[in-house]
């Protein structure tokens, strides 16, 4: 999963508010909530950052957490996004 991008033709709407962040998919009017880190990662995906870059940024954000734990979490999160058809 080295190249990440928002699923084409999906018309996803990402919104970051004071308290919340969410992705809205007009086709089924579903809303997926993201927490702060989820939103951080999503914004990087939107900017077409590569997987390695995202991992690096997260490691910088959480210097006290082991890299492989962050990687495991990131992979799980990306898997969830993929499962929901939000990235490819």
């Amino acid at each position: 999963m080295k190249k990440l991008r928002v699923k084409k033709g999906k018309d996803l709407i990402f919104r970051k508010e004071e308290e919340d962040a969410f992705i809205f998919t007009p086709e089924d009017a579903n809303i997926r909530t993201l927490n702060e880190n989820g939103a951080f990662i999503w914004e990087m995906i939107e900017k077409k950052e590569r997987y390695d870059e995202i991992l690096k940024s997260l490691c910088l954000k959480y210097p006290k957490v082991a890299k492989n734990r962050i990687k495991k979490d990131l992979d799980r999160f990306l898997g969830e996004l993929k499962k929901r058809g939000l990235i490819e």
């Binding site: 919340d20 993201l34 959480y62 996004l81």
Partner: protein
């Protein structure tokens, strides 16, 4: 679904979406109005009942056995709970049979009452039948504010006694209050009083432009959209912080955080019917006002409740076209599938149109106060009112 570090999280809102594409609709709740009478004369009441102090059933009201018959039929359609509402439901002191039937059959009971008729004995009776949830009304922190709004002297004392009796009997009641010009200044005191009385939550309702509420709005005794939002965003958080219990204002999802949307109950119009005192069926209590929304009497009409539930034209129209045909700001709202346009009964009452936009959202849109982040950007502006662009 959460990561090991619980830091990346994605949650779905799908479970909050009301399914309106299924074939067999489940009749989850009956809103039962056992009487159209009330012992108070509240200035905001949307039902506009006639004043009466008489307990017991009056001539044209359903007998307990008749209410049970309707509940029995509703069970076959999936009934899980009933809400007794009004008029003042506890004016009917002959409902023990109904409570007993529900308790025996695992049907949850919720009661919306003005609280003035709950003496110790009544509180214990409700506890005996495991009533699940009770909400009472209090509209001011003292007799002067409350009683002038509720139209009867002594209402404050009787309602606060009612709360005490419920708490003593082991209930955690909710207080519902209507936000209006006279209580907004003293709202903190009201919140403190409720905390001292031992209520579990305080729900704040804006005045609805239905029934007597229209008069209140005409007299400018309500708060406008801007004031309500100011109250929600700038006053309420401090009060909540001070008293540390659940105090919330009932507004459409567009004005709530996602957490709040997940937490608060929403009107599931696809799973409710109202039972009026004379046995007529409607969407909810709106049948008190709108004759076209009276669907018939299951105890009298062929096919009973099942036929109404499955074949009534208005119900099927609602199911088919809400939320897809919602108009105005509701058509552009990200939450329309979750919200279903808030209160469709109120909308129909005002516009005779199930799909008109909900007043609070439409008005806030016009005033430039509708959160931009909750609008679907690509939708057309056709039929939309002009609006100020500035956001709050």
């Amino acid at each position: 679904m959460r990561g090991v570090l619980d830091r990346f999280f994605i949650g779905d809102f799908k479970r909050h979406m009301k399914k309106n594409r299924q074939k067999n609709y489940i009749l989850n709740s009956l809103y039962i109005n056992p009487t159209g009478r009330c012992n108070l004369k509240c200035r905001h009441c949307w039902i506009n009942p006639y004043y009466s102090n008489d307990t017991g059933a009056s001539g044209n009201e359903l007998k307990p056995g008749e209410i049970i018959s309707i509940i029995k039929e509703a069970r076959e359609l999936g009934l899980a709970n009933i809400k007794l509402t009004g008029g003042e439901p506890l004016l009917r002191n002959d409902l023990e049979e109904v409570f007993e039937f529900c308790a025996k059959n695992g049907i949850k009971i919720c009661i919306e009452t003005n609280g003035t008729l709950i003496d110790r004995g009544k509180a214990l009776l409700l506890k005996k039948y495991n009533v699940d949830f009770i909400s009472l009304s209090l509209d001011g922190c003292n007799p002067s504010i409350n009683d002038s709004f509720r139209g009867v002297k002594g209402a404050f004392r009787m309602a606060t006694d009612g709360i005490r009796n419920l708490v003593k009997a082991g209930f955690n009641p909710q207080v519902i209050t209507c936000l209006h010009r006279r209580n907004v200044e003293n709202f903190e005191k009201l919140a403190g009083l409720c905390k001292d009385l031992g209520v579990s939550s305080l729900k704040i309702n804006p005045v609805m432009p239905v029934g007597k509420g229209k008069r209140l709005i005409k007299d400018k005794q309500n708060l406008g959209v801007k004031e309500i939002l100011h109250f929600k965003n700038h006053i309420l958080p401090g009060i909540r912080n001070k008293f540390q219990y659940d105090i919330f204002i009932h507004l459409p999802p567009a004005f709530l955080s996602l957490k709040e949307i997940g937490k608060r109950g929403k009107c599931n119009i696809f799973g409710i019917l109202g039972v009026l005192p004379d046995g007529n069926i409607s969407i909810c209590g709106i049948g008190f006002h709108v004759d076209e929304l009276l669907f018939g009497k299951p105890l009298r009409d062929r096919g009973g409740l099942k036929r109404i539930w499955r074949e009534n034209k208005k119900l099927n129209e609602l199911r088919k076209h809400v939320p897809d045909r919602l108009e105005g700001v509701c058509s552009k709202c990200i939450f329309k599938k979750i919200c279903l346009g808030c209160c469709r009964a109120e909308v129909y009452y005002r516009d005779k149109n199930f799909y008109a936009p909900f007043w609070f959202c439409q008005e806030s849109y016009k005033q430039g106060l509708f959160p931009e982040s909750r609008l679907i950007p690509s939708t057309s502006d056709k039929g939309m009112p002009k609006r100020k662009i500035k956001q709050e």
